[in-house]
């Protein structure tokens, strides 16, 4: 009873909480250590983020945003099969089987190299490839994440796919039901049948939503890249500007000193004048800087646009002009006509270098001669007056 209540509460915000918080918190307490030297916050691999992008689906273990798998690892690890521990073997690595039992790599090698063999703990038949790295301390969480990930792939309908909130909530409830059954191994056969039925019914929708998700992830990535480029560009400009300003200031100072040296005018006036000049210059620079910003905005709007209309592969010609087969062609050997004789002979050699192509002229002549021959005669000729004019004639009557 309490279980079903708990389940019910969760399904109300099912979209956001994909794993029970209570168990996650224990895992967050900080026993996890990342392999591969990643220093990012472990929170980035919380299950609900795993849900959000398609790139995170992985055979085992959970990938974080940068694509690395974080692996659970603690000092008092011990292989339940051979009982060797981290004290004896500092390189001990425990992997999880598909029946969620841990064992060390050497045990796996020992037991499964020769082909499928029963699990030493629950005697389910396993293969060597069925082992995956462990991400969570609690294997229950590991299992739930795997199941939820699988379910989310199939049951990916969105709010837009339903007519009203009620039916959407019913759907979420059903999804939660199935997930719960799979996690706790209640009516597994029947539940699997339900999944298959759902898949058969909604194959097209599932595929579409999958593509939508991919497109979204792609757009997000592109957006990030543009922002990065833009930031770099701006930083470069800023640096250059600072440099310029510094030079300007120094030049201004030198100018004042020079003028004070050579001119016999009032010193205060001179200083004020030079200052005013400098102010004018900096204002001009500021104006150009604002222009720069606008160009950055332009770039951004382009990036936003680029996700809307996709670029299509090149189509050489967009009409069907060459689709018609010509019933004629120019003779390979050329023509012995009088008009082109001068060109063909080209005694002075003035035509060869210019690239005049008599073939082009022949082709044109042939085409002009026969181009319209296949056009059927115009049947049912319109009256000579066009429709506009006829109405104009009739209007006053």
């Amino acid at each position: 009873m309490t279980q079903s209540l708990n389940k019910h509460c969760r399904s109300k915000h099912a979209q956001s909480s994909m794993a029970p918080r209570s168990t996650v918190s224990g895992w967050l307490q900080g026993k996890t250590i990342r392999k591969a030297g990643a220093t990012a916050n472990t929170r980035s691999s919380t299950p609900n983020q795993v849900q959000s992008t398609s790139a995170t689906i992985f055979a085992g273990g959970v990938k974080d945003a940068s694509g690395r798998t974080s692996e659970y690892f603690s000092m008092d690890d011990q292989c339940p099969v051979c009982k060797s521990d981290r004290y004896l073997n500092p390189k001990l690595r425990l992997l999880v089987s598909s029946c969620y039992h841990k064992m060390c790599e050497s045990c796996i090698d020992r037991l499964f190299t020769l082909g499928p063999a029963p699990c030493p703990i629950c005697s389910k038949v396993l293969r060597k490839l069925a082992f995956s790295p462990q991400t969570f301390e609690d294997l229950g969480v590991e299992k739930e994440v795997a199941i939820r990930r699988r379910i989310a792939k199939e049951f990916n309908k969105r709010r837009e796919d339903f007519l009203d909130l009620l039916s959407y909530n019913d759907y979420l409830e059903e999804v939660e039901d199935i997930t719960f059954n799979l996690i706790n191994e209640i009516d597994v056969a029947q539940t699997e049948a339900r999944i298959v039925a759902h898949r058969a019914e909604n194959a097209a929708l599932i595929e579409m939503n999958l593509q939508r998700e991919e497109a979204y992830a792609h757009a997000l990535k592109e957006h990030e890249e543009t922002e990065k480029r833009e930031r770099e560009f701006r930083a470069l400009e800023l640096r250059r500007e600072e440099e310029e300003e510094r030079e300007e200031r120094e030049k201004g100072k030198r100018e004042i000193i020079d003028k004070l040296e050579t001119s016999d005018k009032d010193a205060n006036k001179l200083v004020a004048k030079t200052r005013a000049n400098a102010l004018k210059r900096s204002a001009a620079r500021f104006a150009s800087a604002s222009h720069l910003q606008s160009s950055a905005q332009l770039l951004r709007s382009r990036a936003a646009q680029s996700t809307v209309i996709p670029d299509i592969p090149h189509v050489p010609l967009q009409d069907d002009y060459y689709a018609y087969e010509d019933k004629f062609r120019t003779k390979e050997s050329g023509y012995e006509d009088v008009f082109s004789e001068a060109v063909r002979q080209d005694r002075e050699g003035i035509m060869r270098g210019g690239g005049y192509m008599v073939e082009e002229a022949w082709g044109r002549a042939l085409m002009c001669a026969v181009a319209a021959l296949e056009v059927p005669p115009l049947v049912g000729l319109e009256p000579i007056l066009s429709s506009e004019q006829t109405t104009a004639v009739h209007a006053p009557a």
């Binding site: 222009h291 720069l292 606008s294 160009s295 332009l298 770039l299 382009r302 646009q305 680029s306 209309i309 996709p310 670029d311 299509i312 592969p313 090149h314 050489p316 010609l317 967009q318 002009y321 006509d337 008009f339 082109s340 001068a342 060109v343 002075e348 050699g349 003035i350 035509m351 060869r352 270098g353 210019g354 690239g355 005049y356 192509m357 008599v358 082009e360 002229a361 044109r364 085409m367």
Partner: protein, 367 residues
């Protein structure tokens, strides 16, 4: 009133002039809109009266070719009508050009952006060449950018159709910095490859953000070109020493493009190299260029709507002297060039195309 006049009046009523946007030697450009829909257009009023021998050649060319061409990457001529003594061309309204964008230092170009612009340029050019028309004045200034980012080839004032065998064409075309060496050597018989050279120069300019081959005179242009790409050998470009205005410019070694375009991909350099090939017959064609591996590789060309754009304010706050200098030839380009470039890219000499091509219908301005 006869039928022609009435039709002309109807057309005239469809378009409303708003404000003056620029003035050139032979045309004034106005902003305007369509009366019925409010669609923004540019109206180019060509002054007729002051010319003894009728309309200016480039106006005729512009009408002649733009009437026929309709493509996403070519400026659209919506309508033509006459008013009093003037001829009015109604063109698509395009607010910026590639040159403004290249010069705008606040914009950052990604390799994908350049790829997108190049693809659109080649598409537009391929369309012109497919219809046997040489543009002959490609430069960033003439590649206009629509508000949805589409690039459009504009200013067909120097365009012409492919010459029949043995007919001379003028070599005094294409703004100098974008002019291929065969024209600099005075060739009167050339092909669509001249436009490709210009596109190559534009490609380089997009990568460098500064003109690639800025020669100060025709002679200097050759020198600058050879210094950048090496003096061609007879093998590389057979027969070029026999061209009418051939002069020896000096021997320059062939430097590696990689030294200048340090950030460009290998594919991009390969395409650039093929556009800037000396031998016109070996130069890549617009259609081949569109199938070049540069365009298919990653990154994909940017979607036109996401290409960098000139901020409107930047255009508005341009110094006045630039506007006043706007009486040069290129101000008469279609679309609205509200400003002129500081460097004054202009044709070095007037066009002396032999007049002889027939005009479909004589225009009567004597009313």
């Amino acid at each position: 009133m006869d039928v022609v006049e009435k039709a002309n009046l109807d057309r005239q009523k469809r378009w409303i002039k708003d404000s003056k946007a620029g003035e050139g030697t032979y045309a004034v450009v106005y902003r305007g809109h369509e009366a019925a829909t409010g669609k923004r257009v540019a109206i180019k009023k060509i002054k007729v009266g002051q010319f003894k021998d009728g309309l200016d050649m480039s106006a005729i060319r512009e009408v002649k070719y733009l009437r026929e061409l309709k493509h996403q990457n070519v400026i659209e001529l919506l309508d033509v009508f006459s008013s009093k003594m003037n001829l009015n061309l109604v063109l698509e309204f395009l607010d910026s050009d590639l040159e403004m964008i290249i010069k705008d230092r606040s914009l950052v170009f990604l390799p994908a952006d350049i790829k997108s612009w190049m693809a659109m340029t080649f598409r537009g050019l391929e369309f012109c060449h497919r219809n046997h028309i040489l543009h002959r004045d490609l430069k960033p200034n003439n590649l206009l950018i629509a508000s949805d980012g589409q690039l459009k080839i504009a200013d067909f004032g120097l365009a012409r159709d492919f010459a029949d065998p043995g007919f001379k064409m003028t070599n005094q075309v294409i703004t100098r910095w974008y002019r291929p060496p065969e024209l600099l050597f005075g060739s009167r018989y050339y092909s669509s490859a001249v436009d490709i050279w210009s596109v190559g120069c534009i490609f380089a300019e997009l990568m460098l953000r500064t003109p690639y081959l800025p020669g100060e005179s025709d002679m200097d242009q050759l020198k600058v070109t050879f210094r950048a790409l090496g003096t061609p050998t007879e093998e590389e470009w057979p027969g070029y020493m026999k061209l009418p205005d051939y002069v020896t410019v000096g021997q320059f070694p062939k430097p590696s493009l990689r030294d200048l375009f340090t950030a460009a991909s290998a594919d991009a350099l390969n395409l650039l190299n093929k556009c800037l090939t000396y031998e016109p017959r070996r130069r890549i064609s617009a259609r081949e260029a569109l199938y070049h591996s540069y365009f298919f590789g990653l990154p994909y060309p940017t979607h036109p709507s996401k290409l960098p754009k000139c901020a409107k304010q930047v255009a508005a706050s341009r110094p006045l002297e630039d506007l006043n200098g706007n009486v040069e030839k290129d101000a008469t380009g279609p679309g609205v060039h509200a400003k002129n470039n500081r460097l004054k890219r202009k044709l070095s000499s007037p066009v002396d195309e032999p007049k002889g091509r027939s005009i479909a219908r004589r225009l009567d301005f004597t009313k």
